[in-house]
Symmetry: C2
Subunit: 335 residues, 2 copies
């Protein structure tokens, strides 16, 4: 069995990382000392966040491929950095592992994480490794952005248009398939992918921040109904969400009989399903046409409007309004 | 039962923290957004580390008082910052909690952490909260230090004198008492304290860094034998450790019959016991007398000498030498 030091050594070798006392650029000291040392520049703000990814809470080690666990743990954490408009640069990796996951499982897990790190341009600078009965991963990400340009959740103003990137509910559909026991079935590979290997919109977030176009922004990690509520609370505003404009998941492919196939379910998944990591942002109406130059513009959808007050309401096709309660992911809620 | 958002809200209220979008000094954006935003100064290096504190691995929820869990989780993480000579400033708090620990247990736990945060001058700027079957805490600490002054593990040179702060094995003695079932016994309160509420040497670490006196430094968290081995590997040197100079724990108080009372055990606890968080550092011989002005000088003990080669040897009272194997804490080793 590997010792803690051996696990750390292997981790530093497999992941893009800054090892030892050589440092590199703004990282003066990387992995291997008590802490990493950074010398940030004058014109840069640092953005920092952490995110947990736990066995039996966020993934099932028997079902989720280990490379998906590594991949998704990092992508989820980096998504909060993208949601500020910043570029993720470095990460610290805390891991607790059962002894029987320090071999082949660990290697595949690290490979998935390395793939995400390379895709996102991130490097490991520190962490902590210990044993536990189940796998838990906690990742701290450091990102950078030009001074003063980070986009918060708190800047939405009445009249602003609410936009999202990508379709919503795709990851939830993948999760439903996993729950129905077809997580290993290659026929469903494309429908599972958004759940196993989510994509985040680094370029879009950075572009919106650089052009000061988003008045408020966050990623949709717990579901639109929950996350829009948070954005509105932070901004002290309300919202009208146009139900028919919410970009729900495509009707599932024919033959996928085990799926929740009704359009009704697709809308529910789009409103409350988490894990899509699309960007939710608000734009002043006069700036809406400037969005045409955004990277991935075709994937953007205006879905509602910020209003005075504090109510978040869903507007049906017939113009009827009802309160949109936060029914996204809350780990402490019993359903 | 509290929701995730309610737990976060309570955490931000109880702990010294930087909330919301008001920011403060170099923290532009604190708790409540996707990530915290920092604007570090030009003459400052940032030091960053993370540390896990897990139920059934590092503590037993039935035995360790909840305020000790909160206190120690933060102190452990900050100790790595002190070991670089830096001042801990901010922290991110990742927590996974069972639902039955979100009430009174949670309040006491936060109180303990708040006490540590105030003592160390630290403020919360972010985190992540989720549910799990057992308590896990992972804390990322950001510290600051004058540019280029951080003390690494890698600067020890042959001839340097090895020093430690405080007595070693005190926390191990407390752990042994807990294992013998007297963790709740008020008679043993003083002996348990170093295990439940360890102290770290912020002032000493900062003083050594400021005066450029320590050629290498780290904290003793896993035990002297393991940590001195790491310092030597990082510095590519060997060491001679003078057994009779190692400041072992005091002979246990009379009446403490359940203790491992023999002096032999005290030396073993000093060599291999973890969790003391004393500082281990090396000093050039010509600088040794300057240590007299160090804060807590009376607690410092020279315990050995750095030598060429890579062997770490224990020198007995009779001058005999034997290899000192790393027998400190390794979560992956089966004893």
């Amino acid at each position: 069995m590997l010792s803690e030091d051996q696990l750390v050594e292997r981790t530093g070798r497999v992941l893009p990382s800054i090892l030892g006392w050589r440092g590199s650029g703004i990282v003066r000291i990387g992995i291997g000392d008590d802490a990493a040392v950074l010398a940030p520049g004058r014109r840069t703000d640092w953005v920092i966040t952490c995110d947990q990814f736990l066995e039996d809470v966020h993934f099932l080690a028997g079902i989720h491929p280990p490379d998906s666990v590594g991949y998704k743990a990092l992508v989820r954490a980096a998504s909060d950095i993208a949601a500020m408009g910043a570029a993720p640069r470095f990460f610290l990796l805390s891991m607790a592992l059962p002894a029987n996951r320090t071999g082949a499982w660990f290697d595949a897990y690290l490979k998935g994480m390395a793939r995400a790190a390379r895709a996102l341009g991130m490097r490991l600078i520190g962490g902590d490794t210990t044993e536990a009965r189940s796998v838990s991963v906690d990742i701290t990400v450091l990102g950078e952005i030009a001074r003063g340009r980070a986009v918060t959740r708190s800047g939405a103003r009445p009249g602003d248009i609410i936009c999202v990137s990508g379709r919503l509910g795709r990851a939830q559909l993948g999760l439903e398939l996993v729950r129905r026991g077809v997580g290993h079935n290659p026929r469903f590979r494309n429908l599972l992918r958004p759940h196993f290997y989510p994509q985040i919109r680094l370029e879009l977030g950075a572009w919106l921040a650089r052009h000061r176009l988003a008045t408020a922004m966050m990623d949709i990690s717990d579901g639109l109904s929950t996350d829009l509520g948070r954005l509105c609370r932070a901004s002290r505003v309300g919202a009208l969400l146009w139900e028919e404009r919410v970009p729900a998941v495509e009707t599932p492919a024919s033959g996928a009989k085990r799926l929740p196939g009704k359009q009704r379910d697709a809308v529910q998944m789009a409103l409350h399903g988490g894990d899509d990591y699309g960007l939710l942002f608000t734009v002043a109406p006069r700036d809406l046409k400037r969005l045409k130059r955004a990277p991935g513009f075709r994937e953007l959808t205006p879905i509602g409007e910020i209003v005075r007050g504090r109510r978040v309401e869903l507007v049906g096709r017939d113009g009827s309004r009802k309160l949109l309660k936060p029914h996204g992911w809350d780990p402490f809620r019993r359903s």
